[in-house]
Amino acid sequence: MRAYLSDRMGAALLMAPLLLFLVLAYAWPFLGVVKWSFTLPTPGLGQYNALLTDDLVQSVFIRTLRIAAIVTVVSVAAAYAITVVWVRGTPAQRLVAEFCILVPFWISVLTRAFGWVALLSNRGLINTWLQAIGFISEPLALVRNEFGVIVGMTHFLIPFAVFPLASAMRSLDDRVLLAARGLGSSRMRTFWSVFVPMTRSGIIGSAMIVFVFSLGFFVTPAILGGGRSVMIAELIYLRIFQSPDWGLGAAISVVLVLFVGALMAILFRYVRPKQLI
């Protein structure tokens, strides 16, 4: 297969339909968005200026970055643990891990968000249980705030964080781990000072993917944030569909795309795309 594809012309031809689709569906409309950001409501840099001065826009940007950072750390850590079991566990453990990783892909993002609402809301399962066993008297605020958003996003993103990690762990030479133990290193020490550093590229790849995905999240924060924990994608939606302020919405979009583009450029500098699958 690879021998056929290594023919550059052939590869280019095979990719052409995809490229055409991307240009028609994304690049072309995006140019329109760029144009709006400079022309609506009046031509000029007014919208970008507003971005820098508008307190609401800035607080949403900061909240988005904060949530994305927390979600990244939590997702990558959780995915790391699952991946270790998936790649290095006993056959039974592998099966369970694989199930946990793949099942979420079959359930839509909406279903999952509402599932979390059912679990976390004031009259949800968790609060009812905790009250029933007398652990708390007032329900905990688990949803309609940043906490709920972080829980929902983390849950959604863990499977995506798994694949770069799995690829890094699979390419790791077992003998290096044996060597460490033979040299007197405990299992714990071997894990932290050999295994983890050797999967660094996977960790970076995984973190970048989760972070970039988090920046553009819409459905999950909209449902679990309950309008109180607005993230940047929801803000764009609000500017365009609710308070018709297309220019500002477009300017935010442009900034977001540039930011994500820069992150991707850094990502591909450090990790080859092949390591991400």
Binding site: D173, R175, A179, R181, P197
Partner: protein, 364 residues
């Protein structure tokens, strides 16, 4: 650094290992002496690595016990055995510099920073890696990586150093150089070395004793000249180098050895004829045979016809066929080969009585 007192003495008793229904090792008993250089030699799949892994503690034997300095270590985990190990492919830590790789076993032993610095420095000096301290393994040549692996395995002064085909990835010249270096390290450290290879000349050149494996069985253990000159069976004889085999009949014990009928000549040998019956195989290494115009009465000799010669530079390899069709190969000076071939028909193959030995007929 020389510390024969710390070199370990290992005793394996009845070690067996099954992977499912497959027997990788069978009833293996072996004593490894303090400070000795033992080579495990055998064809691919004969169980050498498995035995080394059992010694290191990475694999649990299904039967048998393992002792180190008289202490039962069969169940002791690898990290507490303190055996230095050099893996095939080196298994260096790719994210650590040369220095950090070598310091690793000292760090996990919580040595002081000053102590680590001194010992790592000494080791780098000893294996000739000066100037490469800060490099990552990927920036080193194969031979240099090999040195790092050796230094890392020796720096914590282990009682035993286990090496699994450490030179198989090196080219021939470098291989010779590293062999010499390893011999020197063995002498300098005085540690017990257990070395795996499937290269018989490497085994004979390096070791104080050689252990020959086949199909998970230990066939023979002995000094290199012992196993080479007095192999216990046909497999060992053939595995250690080229060997000529002639059927021998009417074997009987004689004054200082035995005699037998080789084709139509009576030949004598020094070894005992006990336990081989009246028919056996007479085995002689090619380098002990020579070509002559005739064999004197009482001298070991057999008539043969030269059929083919291969020029090897320093010598010529000559293929001959005896009157009864046995194939024999000898290595002779170039001019001898030419004259033997030109004679066409008969020449005599002769050999000293002490260089022939008996192998059971037909058996392995």
């Amino acid at each position: 650094m020389r510390q024969p007192g710390r070199a370990a003495e290992i005793k394996a008793i009845g070690i067996g290992k099954s992977f499912g229904s497959f027997r990788a090792l069978d009833n293996l008993s072996l004593d490894i002496g303090r400070g000795e250089f033992l080579t495990l030699l055998g064809p691919s799949g004969s169980g050498k690595t498995t035995f080394l892994m059992i010694l290191a503690g990475f694999v649990q034997p299904t039967e048998g016990r393992l002792f180190s300095d008289g202490v039962d270590i069969t169940e002791r985990p690898a990290e507490q055995r303190a055996a230095g190990m050099v893996f095939q492919g080196y298994a260096l830590f790719p994210h650590m510099s040369v220095e950090a790789n070598i310091a690793f076993p000292l760090k996990v032993r919580k040595k002081s920073a000053a102590d680590i610095k001194r010992r790592v420095g000494e080791m780098i000096e000893r294996v000739g890696l000066n100037g490469h301290e800060k490099k990552l393994p990927a920036q080193l040549s194969g031979g240099q990586q090999q040195r790092v692996a050796l230094a890392r395995a020796l720096v914590f002064e282990p009682g035993v150093l286990l090496l699994d085909e450490p030179f198989s990835a090196l080219d021939k010249g470098l291989r010779g150089q590293m062999q010499a270096e390893m011999k020197r390290l063995h002498q300098e450290t005085g540690t017990t070395f257990v070395f795996v290879t499937h290269d018989q000349s490497e085994a004979l050149a390096l070791s104080s004793r050689v252990a020959i494996f086949n199909h998970g069985e230990l066939l023979q253990v002995g000094a290199p000249d012992e196993v080479y000159d007095r192999p216990a069976n046909r497999f060992v004889a053939e595995f250690l180098g080229e060997i000529n085999m002639l059927p021998l009949k009417e074997i009987r014990s004689a004054d200082n050895g035995a005699t037998g009928l080789c084709e139509d000549r009576t030949v004598s040998l020094r070894g005992s004829a006990n336990g081989v019956g009246s028919n056996a195989i007479l085995a002689i290494r090619p380098e002990y045979m020579s070509i002559a115009c005739e064999a004197a009465a009482g001298e070991n000799g057999i008539a043969a016809t030269a059929t083919n010669s291969t020029y090897l530079g320093a010598a010529t390899r000559l293929d001959l066929t005896t009157r009864q069709g046995a194939k024999v190969t000898v290595s002779v000076p170039n001019e001898v080969a030419a004259s033997a071939l030109s004679k066409g028909n008969s020449v005599w193959l002769t050999w000293p009585a002490e260089k022939g030995f008996l192998l059971p007929d037909g058996g392995r």
